[in-house]
């Protein structure tokens, strides 16, 4: 494997634990201890990041994501949207400099997706860096400052959503893919092809 990964001034390969301490991660399919309540999971992950929280502070965090009534429930008892909100809370419980979000809105209804976008936008305004992977170009266009379109592990193009649309607008493949106004998805289809992926 070539290249280097640095989180702030931490070499992630040389100091993986220090790098992990700077990262907030929301995995695509997240699961927590099935027998623990939300409060206990918050306490566990706060402890793993060296954050001490009182019961009142944990309650306040759950209020912020509108899960205060679910405090005694197990993670599996939550709806998809609630699970994603909770996972995002856990990912940012230590106020990380960089947040990695792996398809955070996959399988969510439009309301839950918009709510999550609002939270991502709030993180961005708070000055955090966010690295988001998604198959939804609508999502990329809505929440990302800069988009890298990747295919088979290679970056095909990088730019702001508006700049990418502008620079590929007149490409014949993009015109062919577009249904009316050119979108980021049309650019994506034109660059990666129409074949179905596994």
């Amino acid at each position: 494997m070539a290249g280097e990964i640095a989180i702030g001034d931490v070499d992630a390969r040389a100091h993986p634990l220090q790098a992990k301490a700077q990262l907030g991660v929301q995995l695509q399919t997240t699961s927590f201890h099935s027998s623990l309540t939300l409060v206990e999971i918050v306490r566990l992950y706060a402890g793993l990041y060296g954050v001490t929280l009182t019961s009142a502070q944990i309650r306040e965090l759950l209020v912020q994501i509108n899960l205060q009534k679910e405090a005694s429930k197990r993670f599996r008892e939550l709806s998809g949207g609630q699970q994603q909100r909770f996972s995002l809370l856990i990912a940012t419980i230590h106020d990380p400099a960089l947040v990695l979000l792996d398809e955070p809105t996959a399988g969510l209804d439009p309301q839950a997706r918009r709510q999550l976008w609002d939270r991502i936008e709030r993180f961005r305004k708070e000055g955090r860096s966010i690295l988001l992977t998604t198959h939804s170009m609508e999502e990329a266009q809505a929440v990302c400052d800069r988009v890298a379109i990747m295919d088979h592990g290679k970056i095909l193009t990088v730019g702001t959503p508006a700049a990418l649309i502008a620079s590929y607008r007149d490409d014949p493949k993009v015109r062919q893919a577009a249904h009316g106004e050119v979108t980021l998805e049309d650019v994506f289809i034109a660059l990666t092809g129409r074949e179905l992926r596994d």
Binding site: L17, Q18, K20, A21, Q22, L23, V25, L27, T29, T30, S31, F32, H33, S34, S35, L36, E40, I41, R43, L44, Y45, G47, L48, Y49, G50, H94, D95, P96, A97
Partner: protein, 250 residues
């Protein structure tokens, strides 16, 4: 941001894993119900004496508890959490990876300790078997050694089998021979070959040591064999379990 110490990570993991263990009905049945039922059941019936004396019944109950905790409870819990992605989530935190597994072992050792004490108390109350204080201590220590043997077998199972469903089936298949072999270490009713295999099986070695710890036999040179065999089983299966263990199921 500072990285938390490994001891603080281990502490919060043990607390979470311990809470999860106590809240899992299957683990409670495995830890307490099976050994106690066996302890009482083997004392019933006119042929019960043929299996061995009261110390043998207690050591059998303890062995069943240890086999159940290690090969069924522990391995299944690990496989299910692995399938669900619990380990994957924990591994992106700054906790050292080894603390995630050591926490599970500490909780299992705690369960074994409590199970051994409960079995010994019930044996004293129901079967009237009491031991001198040093024998109680020795019995608990041997039970902890036994838990190392069977946890390492559980680790090997979960290291070699990727899916929780397959592991569930394999664990049940292994469970019966391990228990069955433990039953006939003190009797030649099924022939001397079965007795010999039984005596040197992981459960058989453990029972020999437990019986000695409870004062049924005096400590002699013959006990070094089962003791070294138990250490050998632990190292062998732990190496297999750790070498082939995968944190994700696919």
């Amino acid at each position: 941001m500072a990285v938390p110490t490994w001891s603080s990570s281990l502490k919060v993991l043990v607390r979470a894993d311990g809470t999860a263990q106590v809240r899992t009905p299957l683990s409670l049945v495995i830890t307490f119900a099976l050994p106690l039922i066996l302890l009482v059941a083997t004392g019933l019936g006119k042929n019960s004496a043929a299996l061995g004396g009261p110390e043998f019944r207690i050591s059998l109950a303890l062995t069943v508890g240890l086999v159940s905790i290690g090969t069924v409870g522990y391995s299944l819990a690990i496989a299910r959490d692995r399938d669900a992605g619990v380990f994957q989530r924990l591994r992106v935190t700054p906790a050292p990876t080894w603390t995630i597994m050591v926490s599970r072992w500490i909780v299992q050792l705690g369960a074994v300790l409590i199970m051994a004490i409960v079995v010994l108390v019930v044996a004293a109350v129901v079967a009237g078997v009491t031991l001198p204080p040093q024998d109680y201590l020795l019995t608990v220590l041997v039970a902890l050694l036994g838990s190392a043997v069977f946890l390492s077998i559980g680790q090997a199972i979960v290291g070699l089998i990727a899916s929780a469903d397959t592991l569930n089936a394999a664990g049940r298949l292994l469970y019966l021979p391990l228990i069955g072999l433990s039953l006939f270490g003190d009797t030649d009713r099924l022939g001397t070959t079965v007795e010999m295999v039984s005596r040197w099986s992981p459960g058989g070695c453990l029972e020999t040591l437990l019986s000695a710890a409870m004062g049924a036999t005096t400590w002699s040179g013959q006990l070094w064999g089962p003791l070294f065999a138990s250490f050998g089983y632990t190292v062998l299966f732990a190496v297999i379990g750790i070498r082939w263990f995968r944190w994700v199921s696919r």
